[in-house]
Protein backbone atom coordinates (compact mmCIF):
# COMPACT_ATOMS: atom_id res chain seq x y z
CA UNK A 1 0.00 0.00 0.00
CA UNK A 2 1.21 3.45 -0.85
CA UNK A 3 1.85 5.81 2.06
CA UNK A 4 -0.60 8.67 2.48
CA UNK A 5 2.10 10.97 3.81
CA UNK A 6 5.82 10.67 3.58
CA UNK A 7 8.40 13.07 4.92
CA UNK A 8 11.78 12.38 3.35
CA UNK A 9 15.08 13.67 4.73
CA UNK A 10 13.63 17.04 5.71
CA UNK A 11 15.74 19.87 7.14
CA UNK A 12 13.93 22.92 8.53
CA UNK A 13 15.57 26.08 9.78
CA UNK A 14 14.29 28.92 11.97
CA UNK A 15 16.73 31.58 10.88
CA UNK A 16 20.18 30.26 11.81
CA UNK A 17 18.76 27.58 14.04
CA UNK A 18 18.17 24.14 12.54
CA UNK A 19 15.03 22.56 14.00
CA UNK A 20 14.82 19.35 11.95
CA UNK A 21 17.77 17.27 10.73
CA UNK A 22 17.04 14.97 7.79
CA UNK A 23 13.81 13.76 9.32
CA UNK A 24 11.92 10.81 7.84
CA UNK A 25 8.33 9.87 8.59
CA UNK A 26 5.68 7.81 6.84
CA UNK A 27 2.01 7.47 7.56
CA UNK A 28 -0.39 4.99 5.93
CA UNK A 29 -4.02 5.71 5.24
CA UNK A 30 -6.19 5.07 8.32
CA UNK A 31 -3.23 4.87 10.67
CA UNK A 32 -2.78 6.93 13.84
CA UNK A 33 0.74 8.06 14.62
CA UNK A 34 1.86 9.81 17.78
CA UNK A 35 4.97 11.95 17.58
CA UNK A 36 6.34 12.53 21.03
CA UNK A 37 9.29 14.38 22.45
CA UNK A 38 10.30 17.05 24.90
CA UNK A 39 10.02 20.79 24.37
CA UNK A 40 12.13 21.90 21.45
CA UNK A 41 12.38 18.42 19.91
CA UNK A 42 10.93 19.78 16.66
CA UNK A 43 7.41 18.34 16.88
CA UNK A 44 5.53 21.54 16.16
CA UNK A 45 8.01 22.43 13.42
CA UNK A 46 7.31 19.06 11.83
CA UNK A 47 3.54 19.62 11.82
CA UNK A 48 3.86 23.13 10.48
CA UNK A 49 6.11 21.85 7.71
CA UNK A 50 3.56 19.20 6.75
CA UNK A 51 0.73 21.77 6.84
CA UNK A 52 2.74 24.23 4.76
CA UNK A 53 3.24 27.18 7.09
CA UNK A 54 6.96 26.36 7.14
CA UNK A 55 9.14 25.37 4.22
CA UNK A 56 11.78 22.66 4.33
CA UNK A 57 15.26 23.80 3.35
CA UNK A 58 16.07 20.27 2.17
CA UNK A 59 14.14 17.09 1.56
CA UNK A 60 10.56 16.55 0.37
CA UNK A 61 7.07 16.12 1.75
CA UNK A 62 4.76 13.87 -0.28
CA UNK A 63 1.03 13.32 -0.20
CA UNK A 64 -0.03 10.15 -2.06
CA UNK A 65 3.46 10.13 -3.50
CA UNK A 66 3.10 13.64 -5.03
CA UNK A 67 5.65 16.20 -3.87
CA UNK A 68 3.86 19.04 -2.03
CA UNK A 69 6.90 20.79 -0.55
CA UNK A 70 6.29 23.95 -2.54
CA UNK A 71 2.49 23.84 -2.38
CA UNK A 72 1.07 26.75 -0.33
CA UNK A 73 -0.76 25.95 2.91
CA UNK A 74 -4.19 26.88 1.61
CA UNK A 75 -3.88 24.48 -1.32
CA UNK A 76 -2.78 21.68 1.01
CA UNK A 77 -6.06 22.13 2.88
CA UNK A 78 -7.92 21.60 -0.37
CA UNK A 79 -5.90 18.42 -0.88
CA UNK A 80 -6.93 17.11 2.52
CA UNK A 81 -4.43 18.22 5.16
CA UNK A 82 -5.85 20.05 8.18
CA UNK A 83 -3.91 21.28 11.20
CA UNK A 84 -5.12 22.08 14.68
CA UNK A 85 -2.38 24.51 15.59
CA UNK A 86 -0.53 24.81 18.87
CA UNK A 87 -2.37 27.27 21.10
CA UNK A 88 -5.67 26.46 19.29
CA UNK A 89 -5.70 29.84 17.50
CA UNK A 90 -9.48 30.24 17.53
CA UNK A 91 -10.57 33.36 15.62
CA UNK A 92 -11.49 35.61 18.55
CA UNK A 93 -14.03 37.91 16.90
CA UNK A 94 -15.92 35.08 15.19
CA UNK A 95 -18.52 32.97 16.99
CA UNK A 96 -17.84 29.29 17.56
CA UNK A 97 -20.14 28.35 14.72
CA UNK A 98 -18.45 30.87 12.41
CA UNK A 99 -15.09 29.38 13.39
CA UNK A 100 -16.37 25.98 12.32
CA UNK A 101 -17.76 27.36 9.06
CA UNK A 102 -14.42 28.97 8.24
CA UNK A 103 -12.88 25.54 8.79
CA UNK A 104 -15.13 24.28 5.99
CA UNK A 105 -14.21 27.19 3.70
CA UNK A 106 -12.84 24.90 0.98
CA UNK A 107 -16.04 22.88 0.82
CA UNK A 108 -14.36 19.45 0.60
CA UNK A 109 -16.92 16.67 0.62
CA UNK A 110 -16.90 14.16 3.48
CA UNK A 111 -18.56 12.96 6.65
CA UNK A 112 -18.01 16.15 8.65
CA UNK A 113 -20.42 19.07 8.76
CA UNK A 114 -21.84 21.28 11.51
CA UNK A 115 -24.21 18.55 12.64
CA UNK A 116 -21.68 15.74 12.91
CA UNK A 117 -19.13 18.00 14.64
CA UNK A 118 -21.77 19.07 17.18
CA UNK A 119 -22.61 15.40 17.74
CA UNK A 120 -18.96 14.63 18.33
CA UNK A 121 -18.51 17.57 20.72
CA UNK A 122 -21.80 18.45 22.45
CA UNK A 123 -19.71 20.92 24.46
CA UNK A 124 -19.10 22.94 21.29
CA UNK A 125 -22.77 22.86 20.34
CA UNK A 126 -23.65 24.51 23.63
CA UNK A 127 -21.27 27.37 22.90
CA UNK A 128 -22.02 27.88 19.23
CA UNK A 129 -23.13 31.53 19.46
CA UNK A 130 -20.32 32.57 21.78
CA UNK A 131 -17.38 34.66 20.48
CA UNK A 132 -14.13 32.75 20.15
CA UNK A 133 -12.44 35.20 22.51
CA UNK A 134 -14.67 34.11 25.36
CA UNK A 135 -14.03 30.35 25.46
CA UNK A 136 -12.29 28.24 28.09
CA UNK A 137 -9.19 26.30 27.07
CA UNK A 138 -11.09 23.03 26.69
CA UNK A 139 -13.84 24.66 24.64
CA UNK A 140 -11.19 26.24 22.44
CA UNK A 141 -9.47 22.91 21.90
CA UNK A 142 -12.68 21.11 21.00
CA UNK A 143 -13.67 23.95 18.66
CA UNK A 144 -10.23 23.90 17.06
CA UNK A 145 -10.46 20.15 16.37
CA UNK A 146 -14.02 20.56 15.11
CA UNK A 147 -12.87 23.39 12.86
CA UNK A 148 -10.13 21.21 11.38
CA UNK A 149 -12.62 18.36 10.85
CA UNK A 150 -14.92 20.74 8.95
CA UNK A 151 -12.29 20.69 6.20
CA UNK A 152 -13.01 16.95 5.85
CA UNK A 153 -9.32 16.15 5.90
CA UNK A 154 -7.75 12.86 4.88
CA UNK A 155 -4.92 13.72 7.26
CA UNK A 156 -5.62 15.45 10.55
CA UNK A 157 -2.66 17.03 12.34
CA UNK A 158 -3.18 17.66 16.06
CA UNK A 159 -0.64 19.78 17.90
CA UNK A 160 -0.33 19.52 21.71
CA UNK A 161 -3.96 18.72 22.39
CA UNK A 162 -3.41 18.35 26.15
CA UNK A 163 -1.26 21.44 26.68
CA UNK A 164 -2.60 23.61 29.48
CA UNK A 165 -5.86 21.67 29.88
CA UNK A 166 -7.28 19.96 32.94
CA UNK A 167 -6.84 16.14 32.82
CA UNK A 168 -10.59 15.52 32.76
CA UNK A 169 -10.97 17.77 29.72
CA UNK A 170 -8.06 16.08 27.98
CA UNK A 171 -9.70 12.72 28.57
CA UNK A 172 -12.98 13.92 27.10
CA UNK A 173 -11.31 15.25 23.98
CA UNK A 174 -9.21 12.12 23.46
CA UNK A 175 -12.33 10.03 23.90
CA UNK A 176 -13.65 11.58 20.69
CA UNK A 177 -10.63 10.60 18.59
CA UNK A 178 -11.63 6.96 17.87
CA UNK A 179 -14.81 8.26 16.19
CA UNK A 180 -12.68 10.44 13.96
CA UNK A 181 -10.43 7.53 13.04
CA UNK A 182 -13.47 5.32 12.50
CA UNK A 183 -14.65 7.64 9.73
CA UNK A 184 -11.45 7.02 7.81
CA UNK A 185 -9.34 9.98 8.84
CA UNK A 186 -5.63 9.44 9.27
CA UNK A 187 -4.36 11.17 12.40
CA UNK A 188 -0.94 12.49 13.32
CA UNK A 189 -0.93 13.64 16.91
CA UNK A 190 1.91 15.51 18.58
CA UNK A 191 1.90 15.11 22.33
CA UNK A 192 4.02 15.59 25.40
CA UNK A 193 1.67 13.48 27.52
CA UNK A 194 3.02 9.92 27.08
CA UNK A 195 -0.05 8.14 28.42
CA UNK A 196 -2.41 9.87 26.05
CA UNK A 197 -0.07 9.35 23.13
CA UNK A 198 0.43 5.63 23.77
CA UNK A 199 -3.29 5.15 24.43
CA UNK A 200 -4.51 6.56 21.15
CA UNK A 201 -1.81 5.70 18.62
CA UNK A 202 -1.06 2.65 16.49
CA UNK A 203 2.53 3.67 16.21
CA UNK A 204 4.87 6.02 18.07
CA UNK A 205 7.78 8.07 16.78
CA UNK A 206 9.96 9.83 19.31
CA UNK A 207 11.95 12.97 18.41
CA UNK A 208 14.98 14.39 20.13
CA UNK A 209 16.63 17.60 18.96
CA UNK A 210 15.15 17.34 15.49
CA UNK A 211 15.99 13.66 14.87
CA UNK A 212 14.07 10.41 15.27
CA UNK A 213 15.47 8.43 18.20
CA UNK A 214 12.84 5.71 18.55
CA UNK A 215 10.04 4.34 16.42
CA UNK A 216 7.69 1.39 16.74
CA UNK A 217 4.16 0.03 17.28
CA UNK A 218 2.50 1.52 20.34
CA UNK A 219 1.49 -1.93 21.59
CA UNK A 220 4.97 -3.43 21.76
CA UNK A 221 7.10 -0.45 22.69
CA UNK A 222 8.09 -0.35 26.36
CA UNK A 223 7.57 2.69 28.51
CA UNK A 224 11.17 2.48 29.66
CA UNK A 225 12.42 2.71 26.07
CA UNK A 226 10.19 5.68 25.41
CA UNK A 227 11.27 7.45 28.57
CA UNK A 228 14.92 6.88 27.75
CA UNK A 229 14.45 8.14 24.19
CA UNK A 230 12.35 11.08 25.37
CA UNK A 231 15.11 12.39 27.58
CA UNK A 232 17.94 11.31 25.33
CA UNK A 233 19.39 8.79 27.78
CA UNK A 234 21.85 6.24 26.41
CA UNK A 235 21.37 2.58 27.32
Amino acid sequence: MNALLSVEGVDVHHGDLQALHGLDLTLDEGETLAVIGANGAGKTTLLRTIAGSLRATRGEVRLDGDPIGSTPAHVRVARGIALTPEGRRIFPSLTVEENLLVGGYRGRKGPWDLRSVYELFPLVHGRRTRAGAHLSGGEQQATAIGRALMANPRLLLLDEVSLGLAPVVVKEIYAALPQVVARGTTVLVVEQDLNQALGVADRVQCLLEGRTVLEGPAATISREDVTAAYFGLQE
Partner: protein, 289 residues
Protein backbone atom coordinates in the same frame (compact mmCIF):
# COMPACT_ATOMS: atom_id res chain seq x y z
CA UNK B 1 -35.76 76.18 11.25
CA UNK B 2 -32.33 77.11 9.89
CA UNK B 3 -30.63 74.93 12.46
CA UNK B 4 -32.91 71.98 11.90
CA UNK B 5 -32.33 72.39 8.20
CA UNK B 6 -28.57 72.42 8.78
CA UNK B 7 -28.78 69.19 10.78
CA UNK B 8 -30.87 67.46 8.14
CA UNK B 9 -28.56 68.59 5.36
CA UNK B 10 -25.65 67.40 7.48
CA UNK B 11 -27.15 63.95 7.91
CA UNK B 12 -27.65 63.67 4.17
CA UNK B 13 -24.08 64.85 3.54
CA UNK B 14 -22.97 62.29 6.12
CA UNK B 15 -24.45 59.53 3.98
CA UNK B 16 -22.11 60.61 1.21
CA UNK B 17 -19.12 60.63 3.59
CA UNK B 18 -20.02 57.17 4.83
CA UNK B 19 -20.13 55.95 1.24
CA UNK B 20 -16.70 57.47 0.65
CA UNK B 21 -15.32 55.97 3.87
CA UNK B 22 -16.71 52.45 3.51
CA UNK B 23 -13.83 51.17 1.38
CA UNK B 24 -11.14 52.80 3.51
CA UNK B 25 -12.64 51.13 6.57
CA UNK B 26 -12.92 47.75 4.85
CA UNK B 27 -9.32 47.66 3.60
CA UNK B 28 -8.00 48.69 6.98
CA UNK B 29 -10.22 46.22 8.79
CA UNK B 30 -9.21 43.25 6.66
CA UNK B 31 -5.50 43.86 6.06
CA UNK B 32 -4.48 46.86 8.20
CA UNK B 33 -3.53 48.93 5.17
CA UNK B 34 -4.37 52.63 5.11
CA UNK B 35 -4.78 53.44 1.45
CA UNK B 36 -3.62 57.03 0.96
CA UNK B 37 -4.72 56.90 -2.68
CA UNK B 38 -8.33 56.32 -1.60
CA UNK B 39 -9.47 59.90 -2.20
CA UNK B 40 -7.89 60.39 -5.58
CA UNK B 41 -9.34 57.07 -6.76
CA UNK B 42 -12.80 58.47 -6.00
CA UNK B 43 -11.99 61.57 -8.01
CA UNK B 44 -10.58 59.45 -10.84
CA UNK B 45 -13.91 57.60 -11.01
CA UNK B 46 -15.71 60.94 -11.26
CA UNK B 47 -13.46 61.95 -14.16
CA UNK B 48 -13.98 58.67 -15.98
CA UNK B 49 -17.76 58.99 -15.58
CA UNK B 50 -17.62 62.58 -16.78
CA UNK B 51 -15.58 61.54 -19.78
CA UNK B 52 -18.02 58.75 -20.66
CA UNK B 53 -21.01 61.07 -20.37
CA UNK B 54 -19.53 64.09 -22.15
CA UNK B 55 -17.26 62.62 -24.80
CA UNK B 56 -18.86 59.22 -25.16
CA UNK B 57 -22.47 60.39 -24.90
CA UNK B 58 -23.11 57.45 -22.59
CA UNK B 59 -26.18 57.86 -20.33
CA UNK B 60 -25.15 58.62 -16.76
CA UNK B 61 -26.70 55.50 -15.27
CA UNK B 62 -24.91 53.31 -17.80
CA UNK B 63 -21.64 55.16 -17.05
CA UNK B 64 -22.10 54.23 -13.39
CA UNK B 65 -22.74 50.61 -14.32
CA UNK B 66 -19.49 50.61 -16.29
CA UNK B 67 -17.30 52.59 -13.88
CA UNK B 68 -17.97 50.58 -10.72
CA UNK B 69 -17.00 47.13 -12.04
CA UNK B 70 -14.04 48.53 -13.97
CA UNK B 71 -12.72 50.20 -10.83
CA UNK B 72 -13.41 47.07 -8.78
CA UNK B 73 -11.34 45.05 -11.25
CA UNK B 74 -8.59 47.67 -11.09
CA UNK B 75 -8.76 47.40 -7.29
CA UNK B 76 -8.17 43.66 -7.49
CA UNK B 77 -5.19 44.24 -9.78
CA UNK B 78 -3.88 46.99 -7.49
CA UNK B 79 -3.94 44.63 -4.53
CA UNK B 80 -2.28 41.73 -6.33
CA UNK B 81 0.22 43.91 -8.16
CA UNK B 82 1.24 46.52 -5.58
CA UNK B 83 -0.21 46.09 -2.11
CA UNK B 84 0.38 42.36 -1.68
CA UNK B 85 4.08 42.66 -2.59
CA UNK B 86 4.31 45.72 -0.31
CA UNK B 87 2.83 43.79 2.62
CA UNK B 88 5.97 41.67 2.61
CA UNK B 89 8.13 44.77 3.04
CA UNK B 90 7.19 45.75 6.57
CA UNK B 91 4.65 48.03 8.14
CA UNK B 92 5.54 51.26 6.33
CA UNK B 93 5.78 49.84 2.80
CA UNK B 94 2.05 49.62 1.89
CA UNK B 95 1.48 53.12 3.27
CA UNK B 96 4.34 54.56 1.22
CA UNK B 97 3.30 52.66 -1.91
CA UNK B 98 -0.24 54.02 -1.62
CA UNK B 99 1.20 57.50 -1.10
CA UNK B 100 3.23 57.17 -4.30
CA UNK B 101 0.17 55.87 -6.11
CA UNK B 102 -1.84 58.87 -4.93
CA UNK B 103 0.78 61.27 -6.30
CA UNK B 104 0.87 59.41 -9.62
CA UNK B 105 -2.91 59.35 -10.06
CA UNK B 106 -3.38 63.00 -9.06
CA UNK B 107 -0.83 64.14 -11.58
CA UNK B 108 -2.05 61.84 -14.34
CA UNK B 109 -5.52 63.38 -13.86
CA UNK B 110 -3.90 66.80 -13.93
CA UNK B 111 -2.14 65.93 -17.17
CA UNK B 112 -5.19 64.43 -18.88
CA UNK B 113 -8.04 66.59 -17.61
CA UNK B 114 -6.12 69.77 -16.57
CA UNK B 115 -6.38 71.35 -13.13
CA UNK B 116 -9.73 73.05 -13.89
CA UNK B 117 -12.74 72.35 -11.71
CA UNK B 118 -15.40 70.20 -13.32
CA UNK B 119 -18.69 68.63 -12.37
CA UNK B 120 -21.02 66.02 -13.77
CA UNK B 121 -24.29 67.58 -14.89
CA UNK B 122 -27.44 65.88 -13.65
CA UNK B 123 -30.00 68.39 -14.93
CA UNK B 124 -33.24 68.76 -13.00
CA UNK B 125 -32.30 66.01 -10.52
CA UNK B 126 -29.88 68.46 -8.97
CA UNK B 127 -32.47 71.15 -8.32
CA UNK B 128 -35.65 69.25 -7.46
CA UNK B 129 -36.51 68.87 -3.80
CA UNK B 130 -39.04 67.27 -1.51
CA UNK B 131 -40.84 69.51 1.00
CA UNK B 132 -40.84 68.15 4.55
CA UNK B 133 -42.46 71.10 6.30
CA UNK B 134 -43.50 74.62 5.24
CA UNK B 135 -39.96 76.01 5.52
CA UNK B 136 -38.07 72.78 5.17
CA UNK B 137 -37.21 70.77 2.10
CA UNK B 138 -34.48 68.31 1.13
CA UNK B 139 -32.88 67.89 -2.26
CA UNK B 140 -33.89 64.74 -4.13
CA UNK B 141 -30.31 64.12 -5.14
CA UNK B 142 -28.89 64.43 -1.58
CA UNK B 143 -31.61 62.07 -0.42
CA UNK B 144 -30.69 59.62 -3.19
CA UNK B 145 -26.99 59.81 -2.21
CA UNK B 146 -27.91 59.16 1.40
CA UNK B 147 -30.01 56.14 0.51
CA UNK B 148 -27.24 54.74 -1.70
CA UNK B 149 -24.69 55.34 1.08
CA UNK B 150 -26.71 53.56 3.73
CA UNK B 151 -27.60 50.81 1.26
CA UNK B 152 -23.96 50.15 0.32
CA UNK B 153 -22.83 50.10 3.97
CA UNK B 154 -25.62 47.69 4.84
CA UNK B 155 -24.81 45.47 1.87
CA UNK B 156 -21.08 45.28 2.64
CA UNK B 157 -21.77 44.66 6.32
CA UNK B 158 -24.21 41.90 5.41
CA UNK B 159 -21.63 40.43 3.05
CA UNK B 160 -19.06 40.38 5.87
CA UNK B 161 -21.35 38.77 8.42
CA UNK B 162 -23.33 36.34 6.31
CA UNK B 163 -21.26 35.02 3.41
CA UNK B 164 -18.44 32.51 3.37
CA UNK B 165 -16.05 35.00 1.77
CA UNK B 166 -17.03 37.67 4.29
CA UNK B 167 -16.39 35.27 7.17
CA UNK B 168 -13.04 34.40 5.65
CA UNK B 169 -12.19 38.12 5.56
CA UNK B 170 -13.01 38.52 9.24
CA UNK B 171 -11.02 35.40 10.10
CA UNK B 172 -8.05 36.72 8.12
CA UNK B 173 -8.36 40.04 9.91
CA UNK B 174 -8.19 38.20 13.26
CA UNK B 175 -5.29 35.90 12.41
CA UNK B 176 -3.96 35.75 8.85
CA UNK B 177 -1.63 32.80 9.44
CA UNK B 178 -4.28 30.54 10.91
CA UNK B 179 -6.72 31.62 8.19
CA UNK B 180 -4.36 30.13 5.61
CA UNK B 181 -4.47 26.85 7.53
CA UNK B 182 -8.24 26.93 6.89
CA UNK B 183 -7.58 26.87 3.17
CA UNK B 184 -8.01 30.60 2.66
CA UNK B 185 -5.85 32.10 -0.08
CA UNK B 186 -4.92 35.34 1.58
CA UNK B 187 -3.63 37.10 -1.52
CA UNK B 188 -6.81 36.44 -3.45
CA UNK B 189 -9.00 37.36 -0.50
CA UNK B 190 -7.18 40.67 -0.06
CA UNK B 191 -7.73 41.25 -3.76
CA UNK B 192 -11.47 40.72 -3.35
CA UNK B 193 -11.59 43.07 -0.35
CA UNK B 194 -9.78 45.80 -2.27
CA UNK B 195 -12.01 45.22 -5.30
CA UNK B 196 -15.07 45.85 -3.13
CA UNK B 197 -13.42 48.86 -1.50
CA UNK B 198 -12.40 50.46 -4.78
CA UNK B 199 -15.75 49.63 -6.38
CA UNK B 200 -17.64 51.38 -3.59
CA UNK B 201 -15.33 54.38 -3.53
CA UNK B 202 -15.71 54.70 -7.31
CA UNK B 203 -19.48 54.78 -6.84
CA UNK B 204 -19.00 57.37 -4.12
CA UNK B 205 -16.70 59.39 -6.35
CA UNK B 206 -19.26 59.60 -9.15
CA UNK B 207 -21.85 60.82 -6.64
CA UNK B 208 -19.37 63.42 -5.39
CA UNK B 209 -18.80 64.48 -8.98
CA UNK B 210 -22.54 64.93 -9.46
CA UNK B 211 -22.97 66.94 -6.27
CA UNK B 212 -20.01 69.30 -6.33
CA UNK B 213 -17.16 70.82 -8.31
CA UNK B 214 -14.04 68.67 -8.33
CA UNK B 215 -10.46 68.93 -9.54
CA UNK B 216 -7.57 66.42 -9.48
CA UNK B 217 -6.43 67.55 -6.01
CA UNK B 218 -9.95 67.25 -4.58
CA UNK B 219 -8.98 63.71 -3.60
CA UNK B 220 -6.98 65.08 -0.65
CA UNK B 221 -10.15 66.43 0.91
CA UNK B 222 -12.05 63.24 0.12
CA UNK B 223 -9.36 61.17 1.86
CA UNK B 224 -9.40 63.38 4.93
CA UNK B 225 -13.21 63.32 5.24
CA UNK B 226 -13.35 59.56 4.73
CA UNK B 227 -10.63 59.08 7.33
CA UNK B 228 -12.39 61.32 9.84
CA UNK B 229 -15.61 59.37 9.36
CA UNK B 230 -13.77 56.08 10.01
CA UNK B 231 -11.99 57.27 13.16
CA UNK B 232 -14.97 59.12 14.62
CA UNK B 233 -17.09 56.01 14.07
CA UNK B 234 -14.56 53.59 15.50
CA UNK B 235 -13.18 50.42 13.97
CA UNK B 236 -15.85 48.04 15.27
CA UNK B 237 -17.97 47.71 12.15
CA UNK B 238 -19.12 49.59 9.09
CA UNK B 239 -22.13 50.84 11.08
CA UNK B 240 -19.58 52.82 13.07
CA UNK B 241 -18.29 54.31 9.83
CA UNK B 242 -21.85 55.30 8.89
CA UNK B 243 -22.31 56.95 12.27
CA UNK B 244 -18.95 58.70 11.88
CA UNK B 245 -19.98 60.00 8.47
CA UNK B 246 -23.23 61.37 9.87
CA UNK B 247 -21.49 63.08 12.80
CA UNK B 248 -18.96 64.63 10.44
CA UNK B 249 -21.63 65.79 8.01
CA UNK B 250 -23.71 67.43 10.75
CA UNK B 251 -20.61 69.07 12.27
CA UNK B 252 -19.75 70.60 8.91
CA UNK B 253 -23.19 71.92 8.02
CA UNK B 254 -23.85 73.25 11.52
CA UNK B 255 -20.40 74.87 11.53
CA UNK B 256 -21.13 76.43 8.16
CA UNK B 257 -24.43 77.71 9.52
CA UNK B 258 -22.44 79.71 12.09
CA UNK B 259 -20.09 81.05 9.44
CA UNK B 260 -19.55 79.56 5.97
CA UNK B 261 -15.77 79.63 6.57
CA UNK B 262 -16.09 77.34 9.60
CA UNK B 263 -17.75 74.36 7.90
CA UNK B 264 -14.74 72.16 7.21
CA UNK B 265 -12.92 73.44 10.28
CA UNK B 266 -15.83 72.40 12.51
CA UNK B 267 -15.61 68.89 11.08
CA UNK B 268 -11.89 68.72 11.86
CA UNK B 269 -12.45 70.02 15.39
CA UNK B 270 -15.15 67.44 16.12
CA UNK B 271 -12.74 64.79 14.86
CA UNK B 272 -9.96 66.05 17.16
CA UNK B 273 -12.39 66.24 20.07
CA UNK B 274 -13.42 62.61 19.55
CA UNK B 275 -9.74 61.69 19.39
CA UNK B 276 -9.18 63.42 22.69
CA UNK B 277 -12.22 62.10 24.54
CA UNK B 278 -12.91 58.74 22.91
CA UNK B 279 -9.84 57.71 20.92
CA UNK B 280 -11.35 54.36 19.95
CA UNK B 281 -14.31 56.09 18.31
CA UNK B 282 -18.03 56.04 18.97
CA UNK B 283 -18.47 52.35 18.10
CA UNK B 284 -15.20 50.61 19.05
CA UNK B 285 -14.34 46.97 18.49
CA UNK B 286 -15.80 44.94 21.31
CA UNK B 287 -13.55 41.94 20.75
CA UNK B 288 -9.88 42.67 20.25
CA UNK B 289 -8.28 40.38 17.75
Amino acid sequence: MDWLNAVIQGLLLGGQYALLACGLSLIFGVMRIVNLAHGVIAVAAAYVALWLVQDGSVPLLLALVVVVPVFAAAGYALQRGLFNPALGGGELAPLLVSFGLGIVLTNVLQQVFSADSRSIGIGSLGTSSVPLAPDLSVGVFSLLTFVVGVGVIAAVQLFLSRTSTGRAMRATSDDPETAQLMGIDQRHLYGVATAIAIGTVALAGVFVGMSTQFSPTYGDLVLIFAFEAVIVGGLGSLWGTLLGGLVLGVAQTVGAQVDPAYGILAGHLVFLAVLLVRPSGLMPRTVTA
